[in-house]
Symmetry: C2
Subunit: 202 residues, 2 copies
């Protein structure tokens, strides 16, 4: 197969997976409009995405991410009491609170298209974006720098008092709100960039 | 100027800046061997670097990074008491503890060389690496995923008790140790990749 065929086959397979995931409610709804815009273009397709989330995680041994267990996972702003409730499930190992900004992986047809998408993402505030692979499969990762990665307890016990956990909740929510603003800006700009590009090529 | 000339001019200027920074002791010593290996190759040059660090930061207003103030900054493992001492300088705004893994920016001559460097970095554990720009100036960012970004207090007051701050110190140190291991692996592999490349081209 040549690169063009590889791209078309890859897109077909990625879109089928996305459709299946959508039916099973496994795709974050907030990110869907952006996925649609990208996948409508002949030059790009998405392979994975997350709208951004707040996570309470239990990691039995340092660095052993495979054994990590979700105590709580929210794709929306949360209340501090939800963290206390989720933390009750903790048993052994470190408890981390994470607030993660959106992440989208996009395959592109050419290096130039990858660079164009990357520059648009960075201009919309997704400053941690980068091209993860060139060559046969060109992949752009779109993501932001804002994040919170805080160890908050160990072996079933939260080390934070309420005041501290409230502060962590506020900041986690703030990160999620900022992410939503950036996604909206990206959606708007992406529409312009991709449609301009289509017109130019027609 | 053509791209080749741009690259040579850019390299000359970057090396002069590096030399000046070295004289002023502004370059992290631990990362120097890697910078030397990269800059010895005709195909690459470094433009910025950090060995990895633990930072206690004060941010007067959320998101206002420009106004952020270092309460403490260490390119080595630390003791919990150093955090307590540094925190005494805090006055107004959020106090964050950060443990950051190494970061190196490298300019390359061609897209293929960028992809080769990126794949080597990822194989050595720098999984957050990516190409930040293609076109006239090709820039690879080498960095890792391990990090700690934890709000630990507000308006001059630490919200963590000693047990919690000890846990945060242990994990921050762990991240720094992991980074050192990865840098060593990268140094070893980089030597092989770049020398192989030089031989092939001669």
């Amino acid at each position: 197969m040549n690169i063009e065929q590889d791209f078309l086959e890859g897109k077909k397979s990625a879109l089928a997976k996305l459709q299946k995931a959508q039916k099973e409610k496994k795709v974050d709804e907030g990110v869907l409009p952006i996925l649609f815009i990208i996948n409508e273009s002949d030059d790009y397709y998405t392979t994975s995405s997350c709208y951004g989330r707040i996570v309470l995680l239990e990691i039995p041994n340092i660095g052993d991410k495979k054994a990590a267990k979700f105590l709580g996972k929210w794709h929306r702003i949360i209340d501090v009491d939800e963290l206390f409730v989720a933390a009750r499930k903790a048993k052994r190992g470190l408890i981390w609170l994470l607030s993660q900004s959106p992440i989208i992986h996009v395959t592109t047809k050419t290096n130039e298209l990858a660079d164009r998408l990357l520059k648009t993402a960075i201009a919309c505030g997704f400053k941690n974006s980068g091209i993860k692979s060139l060559g046969n499969k060109i992949v752009v990762e779109i993501c932001s720098t804002e994040r919170l990665d805080a160890p908050v307890g160990k072996d079933g016990v939260l080390f934070c008092n309420k005041q501290h956990l409230e502060l962590l909740t506020d900041i986690s929510n703030e990160i999620l709100k900022k992410s939503t603003q950036k996604l909206k800006k990206f959606e708007k700009n992406l529409g312009k960039v991709l449609s301009t590009h289509k017109t130019t090529n027609n």
